[in-house]
Structure formats: structure tokens, C-alpha cells
């Protein structure tokens, strides 16, 4: 069974952390993964940096730029992850924009991802119809889940379509916004969380974008299977480095 499906069967209220591969230093990928596993993180999203991250705010734009300057690319990431499954059991997802994957070759990318032990991909700018027409077979061949996003603007009809096709989890974007910490969850967001929760979708939902601290994390997990933190984690790493990652995780999960 895919590790992502396994974790949803065995645990509730998951915490998923996103980080940009190659940031702050090119070879921090494995050390960050180890720290996140030790700190008890349930799913880890490894960001493949892109020059033009359309859906990302300033924090991930900056970390992506630094990672690219450090020389990160698909080939280097797969090399770093070659033996990752000797040490890391946590479900691993690669999140990246489509063009670098397209240039690498979608089939080769999926082949290598599966080979090193990646469980799924999140590609924000690969649309649903293109995926189902052209790439779904490739993902299945390599036993990779493809996770889709929904937003407060996504129609119920489309949410049901996405739920049908989804494997792993649905990435529920918390607000109409790009990535980045805002520090609070407002009433309209809570109404949206309740609305989605009441749809009883077959695919579990993780709430991401704007989740940054104990309050926002707890608000999110009340209405979903868990939450995803990206920008706030990268801000922490920027200030504190990668040695005290467990402190960041503790602050999120325990008041």
C-alpha cells in the first residue's frame, strides 16, 4: 500500500511540512528530512524549485531562487534521495511546477521518483483534464499518487470530480491566496472548511496555505484530516537554520 494511504488509515490530524529542496544549502535535503521525521511530522513535501512559482508568495519565491542559485535540479534531487528509504519511513511527496518535470520527461521523472521511494506528486499547474488525458497512466504505472488542489472558489461539481480522480489526499487551499503566512483564520474560511467537511468526500483533505502557528493549525485540523505548513517553516529555517527544527514542530502541535 502507498505510504500516504497507510498514514491516513493509522493516524488522524496529520501535520505535513513543505520545504524547498536545495535551501538553505544544496545538500540540506536529507538532514531536513531526518529532523522532520524525528520531530514526528506525518507527511513531507519536498519542493522542487522553479524560476517562476506563480502560486507562491515572497517566502517560497525567495527560497526557490536561492535553491536554484545553489544548483538544485531534478537530477541532483533524485541523487540526494537515492538512499532516502534506508533512513526515512515518512510518506514523501514532491511538489513542483510542471515545466521542469516536462523538460525532464514526465515518464522518467515518475520512474525516478518511484525508484527512490517517493509516494506522490503535487503539480499545481498541471490541470486536471491534461492529467487524465495524458499522464494518469504514467503516474499509475509508477505507483505515484497525484494530489489535486481545491480552493474556496472551486464549485461543488468540480470538487466531486476531483474527489473521484484523487488518490492520497486533496490539497485544500485555505483561502483565495498565494502561499504565505497570515497568522489567522477568519470566519469565511471556517465556513468554507465546514462546507467541505460536510461533503463527506472519499479522499481525505489536508488544509494548506496560510497555516503558520498553533492557532491556525488547530483551526484547520478541526475540519480536516490535517494541515500543511510551508512558508512559516521556511521562515523558521531562514532565521534559525536547520538544527532546531523540532522546536518549530513543537510550537505548532503543543501550546
Amino acid at each position: 500500500m502507498n505510504r500516504i494511504d497507510q498514514i491516513f488509515l493509522t493516524k488522524e490530524k496529520l501535520l505535513s511540512i513543505y520545504f524547498t529542496a536545495g535551501y538553505p544549502n544544496l545538500n540540506d535535503t536529507i538532514p531536513i528530512l531526518k529532523k522532520l521525521q524525528e520531530a514526528g511530522v506525518d507527511i513531507i513535501e519536498i519542493g522542487l524549485p522553479f524560476s517562476d512559482p506563480l502560486a507562491d508568495g515572497p517566502t517560497i519565491q525567495e527560497s526557490s531562487k536561492i535553491a536554484l542559485n545553489n544548483g538544485m535540479n531534478s537530477e541532483k534531487l533524485f541523487n540526494q534521495l537515492k538512499n532516502v528509504r534506508n533512513e526515512i519511513d515518512v510518506p514523501l511527496v514532491i511538489m513542483g511546477y510542471f515545466n521542469p518535470i516536462l523538460q525532464y520527461g514526465v515518464d522518467s521523472f515518475c520512474y525516478n521518483a518511484n525508484k527512490v521511494g517517493i509516494d506522490g506528486l503535487i503539480i499545481p499547474d498541471l490541470p486536471l483534464d491534461v492529467y487524465t488525458n495524458k499522464y494518469e497512466k504514467i503516474f499509475k504505472k509508477h505507483n505515484l499518487h497525484n494530489m489535486f488542489l481545491i480552493t474556496p472558489q472551486t464549485s461543488e461539481k468540480r470538487i466531486k470530480l476531483i474527489d473521484d480522480i484523487s488518490k492520497g489526499f486533496i490539497y485544500m487551499v485555505s483561502n483565495s491566496s498565494i502561499t504565505g503566512a497570515k497568522g489567522t483564520i477568519d470566519q469565511s474560511q471556517l465556513n468554507y472548511f465546514k462546507r467541505i467537511s460536510s461533503l463527506n468526500l472519499k479522499t481525505p483533505q489536508l488544509i494548506g496555505f496560510g497555516i503558520s502557528n498553533f492557532e491556525t493549525y488547530n483551526n484547520a485540523i478541526n475540519y480536516s484530516s490535517g494541515a500543511i505548513i510551508g512558508s512559516a517553516f521556511i521562515e523558521f529555517v531562514k532565521k534559525e537554520g536547520i538544527n532546531n527544527i523540532e522546536k518549530f514542530i513543537e510550537k505548532i502541535t503543543k501550546k
Binding site: 515545466n99 523538460q103 525532464y104
Partner: protein, 393 residues
Amino acid sequence: MKYNVDKNGYYGDFGGAYIPEMLYPNISELKENYLKIISEPKFKKDFNLLLKKYVGRPTPLYFAERLSNKYNTKIYLKREDLCHTGAHKINNTIGQILLAKRLGKNRIIAETGAGQHGVATATVCALMGVKCVIYMGEIDIKRQAPNVARMKMLGAEVKSAKSGSKTLKDATNEAIRDWINNPVDTHYIIGSVVGPHPYPDMVARFQSVISDEIKTQLLNTENRDYPDYLIACVGGGSNAAGLYYNYLENKNVKIIAVEAAGKGISSGESAATSILGKEGIIHGSKTLLMQNKDGQITEPYSISAGLDYPGIGPMHANLYRSKRAEFVSVTDDEAMNWGLTLSQMEGIIPAIETAHAFSVLDTMNFKPSDIIVFNCSGRGDKDLDTYINYFKI
């Protein structure tokens, strides 16, 4: 219609809508409504009236006599530089502001490179009393100062894009991010035939008035409604799309697209996308774009801010791949010299973007009987500083 968009939003292998889910509702709303709205008689009437009374259309198709004598052929200039605000860009912004109003949007955002599209957008927003935010790269803000001042005077807020290369590509990224953050009340007026479907088709349709008029105008002067050659500069490609639009299926018409070679194709400082680009995805569209082997989009360069875009519209990528159009590239120096030549031979100071197109006259052979139509897409007022510095005037 081999060269126009198909029902799925593709031009051959190119086009589509590679957008994050956050933009899906906005793009679907446009896709489902744009053809219906722009074919309504009332919309057409409003659009044509504004083009006539406000923009000053039809623009002349001017026979350039001295240039024709020198090159021993028949050269016409489609005078888009005479449009209100000084370039063809306003044809599209008039269309899109009318569309936005019908969709109930009360806030407009746009990206701009040279500032021409930003000015054209700020102008129609002032005309309609709609809030306007323009994204412009930090570097472009410096090199196109007069246009920045014009936008501000027209009441627009100009926001500086400080990410990446700080030019058109990054201004576009910032505008897309703004749209993600403001999905309900805002319409994004893209200025070129780029971006996710239906933008390339929608912008091309609004610009097609250029070749509509040429048909009638040529019939009056040459007794036939088509030329032998159509020549335009291509950055994203909106003026070229408008020039070619009604002639795409007419095989008697040869189509030439002129790209900016910057300091030379192999100099590493160029914007010749068809030669240097590979198939990939930029700003929601599959097209030819300049990128490294890892699929990271590279920084283009051209002396003209309107041509240094790392991609071309998907329609143009298809014209290139299908060989319907011939693509040539022209260096900064060649373009600048043509800026001066056109000024002194015809009394027309062109935008540097526009000046690129004329270099074809030095490299291609035309017959005395050939009818050549250049799109004189914009005037050079905004480029005076660049001209002054280059020629030490």
C-alpha cells in the same frame, strides 16, 4: 481554420490552460463567456464606436513612397502608432474593459513591459471609471519613465515587480498572483496573445481589427484585398497576431515575424524565442520559450522593453513550427539604426519594438510589384531617452 485556435484552446501542439486550480474559476468564466459576449450586437456596436471615436480608427494604411523608391518595391505602413496612446495595445484594452464590465468586474489588473499596454489599460480604466493596478518590472520602470508617469496621471497604481529579472516576465507573474488573491472582483487584462486559453484567442480577435481594415484599404489602393507580405515584430506577438489574423489561411500572403536578437543570437543576451526556445510552459500556456536544460525560464534581453519576453504566443509558436510564418531576428543595433532611418526617410519616429520589423528590408529581396505591409505598431516617444543615449543626440 488550421492556424486558429481549436475547441480545446490549442494551436497545433501549443496553447491550452496550464493554470493552478486557484485560477480555474476565473479562466472558465472567461472561456465560457468571451465568444458569446463579443459576438453580441450591442458589444460590437460599443467596441466599434469606441475604436472610431476614441481610439481614432481606422488608422491609415500609408504608402511609404521614399522607402518604396529606395528598396524598389511597394511598402505600406499600417499606422497603429497613430492610435490614441500611441500603439495598437489599446485595441485590446478597449475590448477587454467592455468584456470585464459585462462580467461585473470592478477592478482591473495588468502587466506591462514597455509601458504601452499599461498606459492603454490605465486609459480605458479612466474612461470607464474602474480601479486599475499595473504591474511593471523594477528595471522597466526605470527605462520607461515617461510611461510610468502617464499611468500615474491616468489614475492607475503602478506596482513594481521586484522578483526574478524584474522585467515583463516577472510583472506577469505578479499580476497572476494578484488575480489568485482577488478572484472575484478582478479582471486581468493580459496585453499580448500569451497566457492561458482563452487569452491568446481573445486578444488576437480584438487586435484583428488591424487586418480587417487593411483588407478594405488595400482594395481601394491596389484593387485587391491582400498583400504579398505581412511583416511585424514579435515579443509576445499581439500586433503581429492582429496583422496576420485575417490572412492566416490565405496562401498568397507570406508572413514574416521579426524577433529581437538583442546583442546577437549566440551572445547570451537575446530574446529570439523561436530560435533559442524549446517547447514548455510559461504563464499558463504551452509554447516555445527560452529555458535552461532543467526547465527553468531564462532571462531574455533586448534593448526594447516590449520584446524581451522569454516566450511567444502559442499561435505564433504554431505558425513557426508549421512553417506558415518565416521567423527572422534583428539585433539591437540594426533596430536602432532603423529607428533613425524611418524617422529621416518618412518622418515617423517608431517605437524600438516597431523599428525591428523594418530590418527585413536589408536582408530580404522583394520584387518591384510586391505589396508589403509593415505593422507600424507604436510610436517612439517613450523611447526618446534610449534613442538619445544610443545616438548621443
